[in-house]
């Protein structure tokens, strides 16, 4: 626990060294995502709904997926740039330390500037609850649970994708395909896509299970009770997959280093 705290503080201190840069990067990373949402806002001024879902409801699933991603960006910088560690051979260093490699990765480079993403996504959530008939007071605990599932799932998916670089060395392009594009897809109601992409978002990269299905159930659009259980199912099924991939990847790892 002590070492965790020490690593955490070290990250904070390094980043806060350049104060102006720190605040600027945080603001800009928030604003950057806000520009995506603003475009959607302009779009909704003309059309009012996407696939029968109102803007407020979309904002809610949008925020669930995005907060999960934001928290991942704060702690997952080591994972999302994992190929660098493999290419430079610096992963060897992690292996000789007496701590779980995933834990080290999560704490090695805590990126506080990415909190801007979390703030932006939370603002989107507030907007969503104001605009939609779903009352936050009644479902707040479900919403928080979904955000938690979204966060855990984002970590699980990214651990699997990072582990791929044990075999392929470079993985950033696979991440774009398997995570960035699916994450964006999961921010909108999944029935607007072809069945193939919808199934992909349900069973393979199951990000639709943390937003689209449960919120669809709560708004009475999806009948099946499975919809509200799907986030729990998604998160718990991915866990063994992520663990297995990571550890068999580590077994396969051969250093590139000098």
């Amino acid at each position: 626990m002590k070492s965790i705290l020490a690593l955490f503080m070290a990250s904070l201190k390094t980043q806060y060294e350049y104060r102006l840069n720190f605040w600027m990067d945080m603001t800009i990373s928030g604003l950057n995502l806000f520009s995506d949402f603003l475009l959607l806002f302009f779009f909704m001024l003309s059309f009012e709904e996407i696939g029968g879902w109102s803007f407020g409801e979309i904002a809610i699933i949008y925020s669930i997926v995005e907060i999960g991603w934001g928290v991942f960006r704060v702690f997952g910088e080591g994972l999302s740039r994992f190929e660098e560690l493999i290419i430079t051979g610096r992963f060897d260093l992690l292996l000789i330390r007496p701590m779980n490699t995933v834990k080290q990765l999560l704490l090695e480079r805590v990126d506080f500037r990415r909190l801007g993403v979390v703030f932006e996504a939370s603002a989107v959530a507030v907007f969503g609850f104001i605009r939609s008939p779903i009352s936050f007071g009644r479902i707040w605990w479900i919403y928080l649970l979904l955000v938690l599932c979204s966060t855990i799932m984002t970590f699980e998916i990214n651990i699997i994708l990072a582990a791929i670089s044990f075999w392929t060395v470079r993985n950033s392009d696979i991440v774009v395909l398997a995570f960035y594009s699916t994450r964006t897809a999961a921010m909108y109601p999944a029935h607007i896509y072809t069945p193939m992409l919808k199934h992909l978002l349900t069973f393979v990269v199951p990000l639709a299970t943390v937003g689209y299905f449960p919120i669809g159930y709560l708004t009475g659009r999806i009948d099946s009770f499975l919809a509200i259980l799907s986030p729990i199912m998604g998160v718990s099924l991915l866990l063994p997959v992520a663990t297995l991939t990571w550890f068999s990847g580590m077994k396969h790892y051969t250093s590139t280093g000098t």
Partner: protein
């Protein structure tokens, strides 16, 4: 001649990661498909919808020539590694060298990113080919869009010369191009005064004008007037800024 040689080297550098880029192209296509799905759900099966699909996918393909060029025209990396010294020793200036380096990368992206993504759009999403008379105007406008993008990226690079980091400027660049480039929304869907402001900003020259010329909804003349104006403004700014900043450059050693 030296410009051409720089471009060729930069082109070849891209080729080393061809397989990665092909995987990335599928990801980029999925992004395009997400936007297409959103628009289709709003417009239904209509004439307007099919025009919009073409608009979106043309934009998604040309993003690789007009938006996703190397971060800061390769300058931030050179600053970080200190290799900028070699660029400053060369018998041409930084602006010239960077331009051709980015041209090489742009050519690579055009062949191995833009065209494959566009082909996927043709095959799976019913993207329409341009009328033959629009092909040449589109190419010209696309090249100008590339130039505008180069200058904006170059400014991000100069920012890193001054402040030794590019993340802030890079973020700002993405935000502005995303918001005003028009790759997701054509100008007519912007609210209020933004509808008139957006086509005047330089960012519109990167996506909105090329895709509109492709579709024939905007004439070559109007697009050129906008782009040439901005290219001149950006070029002059770039020359002046380069001169000023390189007078007091800090170089990382080691």
């Amino acid at each position: 001649m030296s410009g051409f040689a720089i471009a060729v080297i930069s082109f070849k550098r891209g080729r080393a990661y061809l397989l990665n880029h092909l995987v990335n192209n599928v990801g980029s296509f999925v992004f395009g498909y997400i936007y297409v799905s959103i628009w289709r759900s709003a417009l239904g099966e209509s004439q307007e919808s099919s025009v919009m699909v073409t608009y979106l996918m043309v934009n998604q393909s040309i993003l690789w020539v007009t938006m996703f060029l190397s971060k800061g025209a390769f300058i931030p990396q050179k600053i970080r590694e200190g290799t900028i010294t070699f660029d400053l020793l060369r018998p041409y200036n930084l602006l010239y060298g960077s331009l051709f380096e980015v041209i090489g990368q742009g050519m690579y992206n055009l062949l191995f990113r833009t065209l494959p993504i566009f082909a996927l759009g043709l095959m799976f999403l019913g993207v329409r080919l341009p009328e033959p008379s629009k092909v040449l105007p589109f190419c010209i406008v696309l090249f100008n869009g590339f130039l505008i993008s180069f200058f904006l990226n170059y400014f991000v690079g100069l920012w890193s010369v001054k402040f030794l980091g590019a993340s802030g400027a890079q973020g700002l660049y993405y935000m502005l191009v995303n918001l005003f480039g028009g790759s997701f929304l054509p100008a007519s869907y912007y609210p209020g005064f933004l509808k008139r402001l957006m086509p005047l900003l330089p960012f519109a020259g990167m996506n909105y004008y090329p895709a509109s010329v492709y579709l024939g909804s905007i004439g070559l003349g109007i697009a050129l007037a906008h782009q040439v104006f901005w290219i001149c403004v950006l070029f002059i700014t770039a020359v002046l800024l380069t001169r000023r900043l390189l007078r007091s450059i800090q170089i990382h050693g080691g």
